[in-house]
Symmetry: C3
Subunit: 350 residues, 3 copies
């Protein structure tokens, strides 16, 4: 299956430079593309590959087009955001090739008679759906998923194999849960009474919006008294832990292995790099970007980029600097002493 460049421009816009009847069938990287493929330029350090690139077509920004467009042998689509253009077009290619799942409920699935299953739903083998749960139209629930009592799943959601979606939780439309994700587990709440931990029942839910994606083996805990909320358009990568009562604002995204402790509130359009850790009861403003592996232990009120991790070094060098980090106090004291000594010396001379 393939599509003409004119077909792409009709769908996704952009200015065509060249022959719109040329067809392409897939995307390929600049340096390994062949004559059936389309490619894109986003990283300026790859500009030098344009002249020798064998792709039939290139998606390029107006600025890069001015700079190096002429060097490309094939057709060009000039668009302001080539990476987003690539994303849309690649989704189109994928949808042309994909075989949509056949609607129907696998005979092995265990579905409570009080559950409501929408139109055109596909349910795989060994799926459990408990009493009162609701599954929206055209959902695809793959093998081994568990959906607890009273849970609500909006239309066009895709649960990959082995998702656990616990009782009374809700998720909007077009959202995706990847394999092994656990939504609505009881949060980690205990009162200490003379050394013994007394469990605090977690009576809130997890409420997830539309167009959310949650990665493999990621866990989102249900709230203690109130709900845990994940707003529309949020993207969470694999192996992330979101504690009880967190609130993740619209279109925020977090990379793999991030941990967010309980009751943290994120604004909109934030990003969190891989393995960063966010403390509990914090408020993070809109548009905050935390770099990978950083530790956030107090609220951030101003948009911007924040970092905090120890720089890597050859081990012996690290050993020396790490020892000195612990002696920073005495270094500062020594500097103060020197300062005084110099003042004294200077005084003497006057």
């Amino acid at each position: 299956m393939s599509i003409t460049l004119q077909g792409l421009v009709d769908r996704f816009g952009g200015q065509l430079v060249g022959d719109g009847s040329v067809t392409v069938s897939h995307f390929a990287p600049l340096d390994s593309a062949d004559g059936d493929s389309i490619t894109f330029l986003t990283n300026p350090k790859f500009k030098n590959l344009v002249a020798t690139c064998q792709a039939a077509a290139l998606i390029i920004s107006p600025r890069d087009n001015q700079a190096v467009g002429d060097q490309f042998k094939g057709q060009r689509i000039v668009a302001p955001n080539p990476y987003a253009y690539f994303a849309h077009a690649a989704q189109l290619f994928q949808s042309m090739k994909a075989v949509p799942p056949e609607p129907g409920i696998h005979p092995s699935a265990c579905i409570d008679p009080t559950a409501k299953i929408g139109e055109g739903v596909t349910i795989g083998p060994f799926v459990t759906i408990e009493a009162g749960a609701e599954i929206g139209d055209r959902c695809h629930i793959e093998a081994g998923c568990f959906i607890g009592r009273g849970a609500k799943v909006g239309a066009d959601c895709h649960f990959f194999p082995r998702v656990v979606f616990m009782y009374e939780c809700e998720i909007g439309e077009r959202s995706v849960l990847r394999p092994g994700a656990v939504i609505g587990c009881e949060g980690f709440g205990f009162a200490n009474e003379g050394g013994v931990w007394v469990k605090i029942p977690q009576t809130g839910r997890v409420i997830i919006g539309n167009d959310v994606q949650i990665g493999a083996n990621t866990t989102v805990d249900r709230g203690a008294l109130a709900d845990t909320v994940v707003e529309n358009g949020v993207k969470l990568d694999n192996q992330i832990q979101i504690g009880h009562n967190c609130h993740i604002g619209e279109n925020s995204a977090m990379a793999g292995c991030v941990g967010v402790a309980g009751s943290a509130t994120f604004g909109k359009n934030c990003t969190v790099g891989g393995a960063a850790m966010i403390g509990g009861h914090l408020t993070i403003a809109d548009g905050v970007h935390v770099t990978a592996s950083s530790v956030v232990q107090s609220s951030i009120e101003k948009r911007g980029v924040y970092s905090g991790f120890y720089p890597l070094a050859p081990h012996r060098e690290w050993e020396k600097s790490a020892v000195l980090v612990r002696r920073l106090g005495s270094m500062r004291d020594k500097i103060r002493e020197l300062e005084k000594a110099i003042q004294t010396l200077s005084g003497k001379e006057k």
Copy 2:
């Protein structure tokens, strides 16, 4: 369903100030409580909310009661640990509302005929229980759980969906395993022989005590030669990794994303903050508290609070300080030079 304040005091103690016939049906936060609800004051910074709080009743410490008790319009229960009181009372409310699972084995479950299943046990769909395993009375084993051959599960345990509890492992009474937890996986033991890794069989087990809670997608590896041990009352949050041969002491608690390398030994009543990492072959004394995101690479012999993570800063500021961390050696050398120079100068002057 609701309960009178006198009913709460009869069960859980505390000194009632006001009308014991007033009824409450649920807990709510201080600032959103209504006339059917009961609330509690633990965080001193919320004292100012007491005067306007609409709850029917307030659980309050003797000290806070003296300070602000008079300002509250409703009834009061004065108790030394309001947070633990809340935990106990909330458990009572939950048990009044909860529909207990109906005992019985789902017809789809695959249970070896040599497994011993106790009285009043509930087993969900698609559960696998292998040869010789023993399930104690009143256990609740939810959908998709796997219990390996010869494993022993004590009475009143609750395994949430999709728990894996491997062969020959043991768990005591009233313990809870949350969705996706994996107990008894073979530990990561390899000998290096000329660059190739040779697997070391992991022949120990995991032995877990009573009243233990283990979070979603947490993994606890079986021992190599000896057993991995998790003592009574331990609470582990989600996405924790406990390596082979670890020993976690009574009533210790760890927050999400913590990693504990092999053969680490924890004392009693320790706490580990989220994403902290504990090296292998270490011994941690009773009552040690490791703050979130800290890295522990040597044994800790004295109770107390320990920390070690890089402070967060705006990215540009961090870049500057991170560079200087690597130059600490030359800063110290420079300070020494200055010291000598001053000594020389001082000497000259004498």
Copy 3:
């Protein structure tokens, strides 16, 4: 079941000092071994236990044998790498005791008629195998595993319960996936278009070699355009995240909780300590060892040991040093001022 020392030496080499007809039945640690057991000395700090050790036999290096071999009462096997010797011999003991799984397909398994299942394969309850998947001879696929359409599994692989192995991915021979591992999840790729994240289809696969081991709840994402590759002999512990398009070189090993961002390339024979984090688009040379909890944010071109984590301290001490880390710039400025002041003073004196 037991074996003679001569039997061990015939199989695994080494020089026997003593009576080869003595039999041993299991391994035990130096300090708790009894007369039926064999033990080994690898850690020099345990040399003092040799004299009192009750084991029937001891595996010891030539060097340690010269130093303390005489003090041991039992028989000795002198071999250059006692730890690898132990690994091989322990595998033999285990194989003597293990009951091999009975080949056959559990009647509850859901296997597409177009899937190809090899000879002598064991498939447990509630396993799903989709269209066109291929399972090699003698594979053991445990309860609840999911193998997607077109996936290829080589001979003699062992998938523990609840593994997810997604569509079109491939794994070689004798490889092991532990419970809850997710291979071939779609990677985390989104283009940002005016604040909204547009999904980039992940059309690559995961290609895994021979003799690979992947731990419990570990996730390896499929590539975006190209494949994610895990070469022969790689060992990954539990709860590791490997991003899309990564390439992990032969015989490299990673401990628990490691995160590797997308498009990172590892050489051969690398090791990564627990919870270390590797940034995206980096290249790591052969033979690089990253210590536990370190953060790698740029490529490493030279073999060696690298570290980077904040040193632990009692909390109050840490608070002081952490504040000073953020003031390193002003400390350096102050040192420069002092330098100038001293130069001025020195100059005046001349």
